[in-house]
Structure formats: structure tokens, C-alpha cells
């Protein structure tokens, strides 16, 4: 149905100047962000402790990263908190849709030929190459698992870290997922399909995983480094902008406890099939410790709910005149 219908329009605003956008947003009730505590002087970081409930320090959307990995900054502003600076004549990307130029990643990952071919095969609904929902092949829009490290590179929302004597567990709000990171001294398997400990009687059979196989260790009293491999093939994307990953990927997460209130998360990607060299996909995302009483909301992806939504937005949003 086209817009020839005359509807009782009370107001029709054509806001052609993107710079008029503001950045107002909701906040999670009960959460504390850095802007709530301007001028604070946090206490010292506790030793070998990253446990607790963490929320992006800059606000609930601080870990969403619609631009994709390695592009942490939002669209540029004239000044802090000011108007966006956006090219009003944004170029048409290889997906055929013009999107605000400010969504382009600041740094392009070092693709191999296969990596570049794979990223072009990924048709995302976010980032510089975004298309309408009806044209995407993003697996998470079918409620497939987003997998790791996408859970950190897109929609890093409230998460709880639990520490035991043998492992660290991270509970993620987004998609209601969890990961287990071994800290009992075992090494990352050289061949994740055949880890050395698979001969022990209490070991699970080796398997490739949506979330990989993770081991972690403290490199000093305030820095916890996690390495993960054992991934599936390229059915998972690295982020919402469609960056590729393969079964050869190894991910290094660094959790640095800055002070009593803050934790910084960085991520390095090594994947010789998709990238010519290791690169930093996340650079010191600041997380803020919340009260132990802070509740993590449920944020599931229901396939049947999504199917109902698809009747309208998944199936009817493109492509006529969509540029």
C-alpha cells in the first residue's frame, strides 16, 4: 500500500537535518552510571576480583555499537553532547542503501580475500552497510544464537560475573546467555576438536561451540585475560555490521579492574582465515559496578514472537524506493 492515502495527519515533520538529533535515552531503573557521579573519586580496585553486576558506564546503550566492531565512537558531534555531524548526502554502500556516513567504522578490519568475500555475503541491518529487515540474512534475526564474541561486540548490556575457585561465569542479559571460563590452570587446546583433557574421565566430548571454549588467568592482580577458541564455522557473525569469523578464530578478552567502581573490557581478534593480522575489536569498554541488589532483566529472543513481527517488518519493509 502506497502513501497516496490521505490520513488525518496532525503533524508531518520532515527533519532533513540529522544534526538536530539529540541523544536522550532511557536508563535502567536503579542503575548508576558515570554521569550520576560526576566528580567522584572511586576507591582502589580490589585484587583479583571482577565479580559483580556490570552495566556500561556511559549508559545502557554504551555497549550496543551499531557501527560494528572497532568503531566504538557514536556519530561525531559538533561538541560533547552537541549536535551530530552527518553528511546529508551519504554515499550508497555496496548493499545499495544510503546510510548516514557516521555509521562507517573508523578503522576497517584487515580482511583477507576470504574475509572480504564473506563480509560482502553478510547483509546486515546495522552499520554502514545496513539494509531493510526484509533483505537481511543476519542469523540472530531468526533468533539464532549470536554467539561469542558478538555478545560483547553488540548489545553488551547488563552482565553478572561470578568467580569460583575453578572458573569464572558470565551471565549476559542479552539473549539470556551465559559463558563458562576455566581458571583451573588448563591451557587453551591447540586443537579444540581434540583437547588434551578429553582423555580424562570427567571431560565432555570435544565439540565446536557457538560460544567457544574459554580459559582465563590473572596476568597481574588487576588484569584477567581470557582466551577462547573452538568455534563453529562462519555461521556466526562477529558483530551486527556483519563482520566475519571462522572456526580458526581465537579471541582474547582483557578485563582490567581500574578501580572499585570500574572494569574495562578489550577484545583482540586473531583469525587467519578472515583477517591478515590480529586486530582490536573493542578498546576499553568501560563498565560500572552496580549494587548487588540490582536485578538483571530478561531479554530473550522468542522465535514465535519474531515470526509474528516478521509478518510486518521482516517481510514488508523493502525494497521499493528504499534508497
Amino acid at each position: 500500500m502506497q502513501h497516496r492515502l490521505v490520513v488525518p495527519v496532525i503533524a508531518l515533520s520532515a527533519v532533513l537535518n540529522f544534526p538536530s538529533f539529540s541523544h536522550a535515552q532511557a536508563r535502567l531503573p536503579g542503575a548508576v552510571y558515570d554521569f550520576d557521579r560526576k566528580g567522584e573519586k572511586p576507591g582502589p580496585a580490589p585484587k583479583r576480583d571482577i565479580s559483580g553486576i556490570w552495566e556500561p558506564a556511559s549508559g545502557p546503550s554504551g555497549g550496543i555499537q551499531g557501527k560494528g566492531a572497532a568503531a566504538m565512537e557514536s556519530c561525531k558531534r559538533e561538541k560533547p553532547g552537541g549536535k551530530y555531524v552527518v553528511d546529508p548526502n551519504a554515499p550508497v554502500t555496496d548493499t545499495g542503501y544510503a546510510t548516514p556516513d557516521c555509521l562507517k567504522p573508523d578503522v576497517e578490519p584487515p580482511y583477507t580475500a576470504l574475509g572480504r568475500e564473506t563480509v560482502k555475503a553478510h547483509i546486515p541491518v546495522e552499520g554502514y552497510r545496513m539494509v531493510p529487515d526484509s533483505l537481511t540474512n543476519d542469523p540472530i534475526l531468526k533468533c539464532d544464537p549470536g554467539g561469542f564474541p558478538r555478545i560483547n561486540l553488540h548489545n553488551f548490556r547488563t552482565s553478572e560475573i561470578l568467580q569460583t575457585s575453578t572458573h569464572v561465569v558470565i551471565l549476559y542479559k542479552f539473549q539470556h546467555r551465559w559463558r563458562q571460563i576455566w581458571t583451573d590452570g588448563r591451557e587453551l587446546p591447540k586443537d579444540p576438536e581434540n583437547p588434551a583433557w578429553s582423555n580424562s574421565s570427567d571431560a565432555l566430548p570435544p565439540e565446536s561451540r557457538w560460544w567457544g571454549y574459554s580459559v582465563g588467568k590473572w596476568t597481574d592482580d588487576y588484569t584477567f585475560v581470557v582466551n577462547t577458541n573452538g568455534f563453529y564455522d562462519d555461521r556466526t557473525w562477529l558483530d551486527n555490521a556483519g563482520l566475519p569469523q571462522s572456526d580458526a578464530m581465537q579471541v582474547e578478552e582483557t578485563y582490567h579492574r581500574v578501580d572499585a567502581n570500574h572494569l574495562e573490557l578489550s577484545i583482540k581478534i586473531t583469525d587467519p582465515k578472515m583477517y591478515t593480522k590480529p586486530w582490536i575489536a573493542l578498546d576499553k569498554l568501560s563498565l560500572r559496578l552496580q549494587s548487588p541488589n540490582f536485578e538483571i532483566q530478561e531479554m530473550e529472543c522468542s522465535p514465535s514472537d519474531q515470526e509474528h513481527w516478521n509478518k510486518y517488518f521482516g517481510n514488508q519493509t523493502g525494497p521499493a524506493g528504499a534508497k
Binding site: H3, L5, A14, S22, S74, T99, W309, F313, T317
Partner: protein
């Protein structure tokens, strides 16, 4: 009357305020981010869902023909802080919806704000709202 005028003022100001970067689950390529429509209509369905809630409402055009519009918003947990609940709308409620339409001309859009039958206005992520717990994120 003063309340209505105030509500309209808030609505008008709010129309000029939206962020392109706060969409949680999917992007905005489907939507004409340069346009906004405000429509009065009658609720057909309020679908409280994960990962996206949506509101179907019927709008009459000038000839009296009913046109069904559908506007999406974020997941239930995401919009709870903005004041929405599963019971916010019931079929037949008269509402005023401000939306960002899709680019292809179909009666679909993204919910920016809605005025309920009792005059209360609820916003959406990225929308300046007079009633939601919005806050400016410092950068």
C-alpha cells in the same frame, strides 16, 4: 485545555528529537529517518514480545476508509523503564501515535511516542519524553 496545549507542545518538541544510534536489535534502513507522522487511531493489537513489541491501530482516512498501521518498538524489558507494560493498550483504545514511517510507503513505522486515552504520553528509546525517565547521556 491548558493540559492539551502543554501536551501538544511537548509532542511538537519531541518530534524534533530522535537519535539514530539507539536502536537495540536492528537498524534503521527500513525507516525514513527524515520523516515523522502523528496519527490518531484505535488500537487493534498490542503485541508484547521479545525481541520487538508492536502496536497495530486503525486510522480512518478522509473518505472514512480504515487503514491499519503497525508500529514497532523494542522488547518488553527495554520499554518497561519508559512506562509501557503488557497492559498499556487494549483493543479499542483511542491513541495518538507519533511514528517514523518505513521508506517504501507501507503503513508501517517505528514508534516514537504515543499519547494514551488518559492523556499520558509515553516515548521510546531515543525519544525525548515528558513522562519517561529519560536522561541525557553525557559524551
Amino acid at each position: 485545555m491548558k493540559q492539551s496545549l502543554a501536551a501538544m507542545l511537548v509532542l511538537t518538541v519531541a518530534l524534533l528529537i530522535v537519535s539514530p544510534s539507539l536502536v537495540a536489535h536492528h537498524g534503521s534502513a527500513s525507516f525514513d529517518t527524515a520523516k515523522k507522522l502523528t496519527l490518531k487511531g484505535s488500537v487493534v493489537e498490542w503485541f508484547w514480545a521479545n525481541p520487538h513489541c508492536f502496536l497495530r491501530f486503525s486510522v480512518k482516512d478522509e473518505s472514512g476508509q480504515a487503514v491499519e498501521w503497525v508500529v514497532e518498538t523494542q522488547s518488553g524489558p527495554n520499554i518497561l523503564p519508559l512506562g509501557y507494560t503488557k497492559q498499556t493498550f487494549k483493543p479499542g483504545d483511542e491513541v495518538t501515535v507519533t511514528l517514523q514511517p518505513v521508506r517504501n510507503g507501507k503503513p508501517l513505522g517505528r514508534l516514537l511516542s504515543v499519547v494514551l486515552p488518559n492523556g499520558k504520553k509515553l516515548g521510546a528509546m531515543g525519544e525525548g519524553s515528558g513522562t519517561a525517565n529519560g536522561s541525557d547521556e553525557p559524551k
